[in-house]
Symmetry: C2
Subunit: 264 residues, 2 copies
């Protein structure tokens, strides 16, 4: 009963928050500056990671790039310095001529947890930082034939959510979190994906949305944005109707080509 | 455009499904019979697993119980026969006098995936079976201070969702899936949980709901059912308002006591 009274008393606040959100729809949010900030990117050798590295390079961040695969030299003037003890050297962009990779690392969902855990204490101390978790639409919706992938991406989304709540509980509002959930992307992870619903995403488009999400401090970046609508539909449409729609969407791909993960 | 026309043509079907769901609200669903069915329960030595074993025992299922911890003798007349090669012997309940555990197993989210994967082919062949995934409300909502637990429970929910979709894609409608997501339960996993929102759940209540969910073939069993409402609120309330509500809910616990997991 007491709880109900408290809830009613909160209603004006709810109205103000909704009004604020509505007004904000018409004011484009200015992105924060990341010049001189240290940016650590795992999986920087391919796809989303590589393109994101380029974007942060343009914004003059200090880049630390990790990858399990040999990062191709096209990355050019972005310096990559990771020694084999796991200690990271940051280096100013465009100042080192010869990029060299001394050691590549196994990066996967679990590695993301460990890395975050390793860097979190110093972020907490300074109440400054931004943790970006790259998940997938398959971390929000169950996809057939992708059981292990779905599980690990759901885990990544769960990690992002719990981390966000934990930072909030510690009142560390200087540390931001962003979770990227794109639909099928044409990066070679999935072979020949096709669907009647939307064309397969090009990595450039995903990275554009991701960069915008990071700089404007969005918590969840769904690409394409129509995924937001799909998730709400999922909640409210009867199960059998969803099944018919899914058959209509006709999601198909040839095979899953996993990233090579270093043996432990 | 074509897609839009197709969607409009599907609308009468949607109306029928909603009508059907509404009518079904007033017709109590009769539970299926599990007499003589083989029921494998992991984590059968404590809490939810143990109580679920008792319930299936009453319904005269053939029980196979696994646990990492030594199952206490109170379980009494339920026979436990697991040999150390991982091959499982089923045994009729109440027919074996001396229950004996030859080997205990590490059971966790990953083990659940492997076990399911091992049993799925024969289930698929017979188009018959029921896979129950025990997750948690922490597999749907981010909980501070429970990062690893949240991630693994999100993974369990993701596994359940992908598995459900996969069985649907294969048209194996004889194999059912159920996912249990209870709120804090008083089973010793979390020490002294308190919250202003709801009293901590007693395992007996959770198992009652779970058994009902399994027998009536529900896909998702949330305990308490008010979690359904909370999840919808989570989607539509502004973030800052949710934070105020969460502070009001005042979820607290002393420490997390993990299950002992066997070293690999």
């Amino acid at each position: 009963m007491n709880l109900l009274v408290e809830l009613v008393l909160l209603l004006p606040l709810l109205f103000i928050f909704y009004l604020e959100s509505f007004v904000k729809l018409f004011i484009p949010k200015k992105g924060k500056s990341v010049t001189g900030e240290i940016v650590l990117i795992t999986g920087a050798g391919h796809g989303i990671g590589r393109l994101t590295a380029y974007e942060f390079a343009k914004l003059k961040s200090k880049l630390v790039l990790w990858d399990i695969n040999k990062v191709k030299t096209e990355i050019g003037d972005i310096s990559i310095l990771v020694n084999n003890t796991g200690i990271v050297y940051t280096s100013d962009l465009f100042s080192t001529q010869d990029p060299q990779i001394e050691k590549t690392f196994a990066v996967n969902t679990l590695a993301h947890f460990w890395i975050t855990k390793a860097f979190l204490p110093s972020m907490m101390k300074n109440n400054h930082g931004h943790i970006v978790t790259v998940a997938s639409a398959a971390g929000l919706i169950g996809v057939p034939f992708l059981l292990a992938y779905c599980s690990s991406k759901f885990a990544a989304v769960g990690f992002h959510r719990a981390l966000t709540e934990e930072l909030n509980a510690f009142k560390k509002n200087g540390i931001k979190t962003t979770c990227l959930c794109p639909n099928f992307i044409n990066t070679g992870f999935i072979k020949n994906p096709t669907s009647n619903l939307e064309p397969t995403l090009e990595p450039e488009k995903v990275v554009e949305k991701l960069m915008n999400g990071i700089l404007t401090e969005k918590r969840m970046v769904l690409v394409p944005s129509s995924l937001n609508f799909l998730l709400i539909l999922e909640k409210f449409l009867p199960q059998r109707f969803r099944e018919i729609l899914k058959r209509g969407a006709n999601i198909k791909f040839d095979a899953v080509i996993g990233y090579k993960v270093k043996e432990q």
